[in-house]
């Protein structure tokens, strides 16, 4: 039976790690993800897991150790945030290219400078091209559920790719919410045993990992890697379906919230979705046809499915909690691309919000919907790209 537990987002991720009981965890704690590894270190010390916990000197070393341990044949996990993820950059690509199914909690936090410990998505959005599967979570329960699903997705033979579960720093990582903690044995049955492929510790079959591939082979490897992450889409759907049957909570590539007959929709990622749902409910009560599409899987990006879900919408506001300096927000680019072939094509515009933890209140979201109402009536976007809640306009 599941236990209803009051727990922080970080605590929930540590519980997921305890239940997964990985062979190796290599980590270098960084705010706001620190508590994940602190809690997990306790589980190791108390003998609740069989994990080899490697405390390393940097995040670059953490990811390097994870890759080595994974190539050696272990199920491997870690956690990080912001500058820590940035320091892993080089190794993120190597983990993905070497097709090692490393699992990582990314507690989203702003990148310096100025130094800031609060939430935005620039860290994981910057890593979006590294070849990792990216699954985002609105709250503690989703973060936990995503991590319980992660091994079955990442380790699937059609995929074999690393996977990051992203949750909002402080807003989720440090907030206590009640959630369902599933039974240890049931979770372990769901996850199954890990089978490493061509492992370094198999002395009978020596292998080379990380060899050279130049102009004659590199692009073929990348083509294969692209196939693997595209395969992940169907695997995520299958595993989510199986998870729903087993534990009763349903997940898909994204969440459609009151999208039926919606004329104006916000597309957003992570914790802000909870707030938007409140505002959508309130506006629906006032008779307004509004809705929310919440991204769950950002890599691989489900273009066709999202285009289908939004095909009857008239105005779409894409909220990016990150900046691609000199360009539109990363989510906006994907949503606009997904809908390029829609006929009629909806009005789509982009708002940047919440950088460095700047709050977005329900009244702010009401204003967003008021603006999209003006665009719906005029049939014209006045401002394609702008910041919300910034002094100076």
């Amino acid at each position: 039976m599941p236990t209803t537990k009051a727990i922080t987002g970080n605590g929930a991720m540590a519980q997921a790690m305890r239940q997964i009981n990985p062979d190796v965890v290599a980590a270098f704690p960084i705010t706001p993800s620190t508590q994940i590894i602190e809690d997990f270190a306790e589980f190791v010390a108390d003998g609740e897991v069989n994990t080899e916990l490697i405390t390393v000197e940097s995040e670059h070393s953490a990811m390097s150790a994870c890759i080595g341990a994974s190539a050696a044949g272990g199920r491997v996990m870690t956690a990080t945030s912001a500058n820590g993820l940035a320091l892993m950059w080089e190794m993120l690509y190597i983990a993905a290219s070497m097709r090692q199914p490393v699992l990582m909690s990314v507690v989203n936090r702003a990148l310096s400078a100025p130094i800031n410990i609060h939430c935005d998505h620039n860290d994981s959005m910057g890593a979006r091209d590294a070849g990792w599967i990216q699954i985002y979570a609105e709250n503690n329960q989703e973060a936990y559920d995503n991590m319980i699903m992660a091994p079955a997705i990442a380790e699937h033979m059609d995929v074999r790719l690393p996977l990051m579960v992203c949750l909002d720093g402080f807003i989720i990582s440090h907030s206590i919410e009640t959630m369902e903690l599933e039974d240890d044995q049931k979770v372990r049955d769901f996850i199954g045993q890990y089978q490493g492929q061509n492992t370094l510790l198999d002395n009978e079959h020596p292998v080379t990992w990380g060899a050279l591939g130049l102009h004659d082979y590199y692009i073929e490897f990348k083509r294969g890697q692209q196939m693997a992450i595209q395969n992940a889409k169907a695997v995520i759907q299958d595993v989510s379906e199986r998870f729903g049957q087993q534990f009763g909570r349903k997940y898909d590539l994204f969440e459609s919230y009151r999208l039926d007959d919606a004329e104006r929709v916000i597309v957003a990622i992570n914790s802000v979705a909870g707030e938007i749902k409140e505002v959508v409910d309130a506006l629906r009560d006032e008779g307004e046809k509004v809705g929310l599409l919440k991204i769950r899987v950002f890599r691989p990006f489900p273009y066709a499915e999202i285009a289908e879900a939004l095909k009857d919408v008239k105005v779409i506001t894409v909220l990016d909690r990150s900046t691609s300096m000199g360009a539109y927000g990363p989510l906006f680019g994907e949503i606009r691309t997904a809908l390029y072939d829609a006929n009629p094509r909806p009005l789509i515009y982009n708002r940047t919000f919440g950088l460095g933890g700047r709050e977005l209140f329900p009244d702010d979201i009401r204003e967003v919907f008021a603006e999209s109402k003006r665009y719906l009536e005029s049939g014209k976007i006045e401002k394609l790209f702008d910041f919300l809640n910034v002094r100076g306009g």
Binding site: R160, Q197, N198, Y217, F221
Partner: protein, 112 residues
């Protein structure tokens, strides 16, 4: 060129580029890297095998032979241009070349 050296399609590659067989550097053509080509001159070669010792690619292939006195020895057979990168170490280290009168290994510009 045999099938062994045929470049594979992306579907045929092992995930992650893992190499599961030993000694497969032999399958990798480094001969295309050459801008200069060592040419072995059999008539002037004393078969001291200095070139064979210094060659980083093992590109000097040997055969069984015998000295003028009839003792068995290894002799140079040919240069394996599939692997020779044209580094020129053999040309530089050859003791015949060093004497300066003859050239047992010439170094010529690779024709493009």
């Amino acid at each position: 060129m045999s099938d062994k050296y045929k470049l594979k399609k992306w579907q045929e590659l092992a995930p992650g580029g893992v190499i599961t067989e030993g000694g497969n550097a032999a399958d990798y053509e480094t001969g295309t890297w050459r801008t200069w080509r060592p040419v072995w001159c059999e008539d002037d070669c004393i078969h001291c095998l200095t070139c064979w010792v210094f060659c980083p690619e093992g590109a000097f292939l040997l055969k069984d032979g015998q000295t003028a006195g009839g003792k068995p020895r290894k002799e140079i057979e040919e240069i394996d241009y599939f692997h020779c990168k044209g580094c020129g170490l053999c040309v530089r280290e050859c003791p015949v070349n060093k004497q300066g009168k003859k050239q047992a290994i010439e170094f010529v510009r690779e024709e493009t």
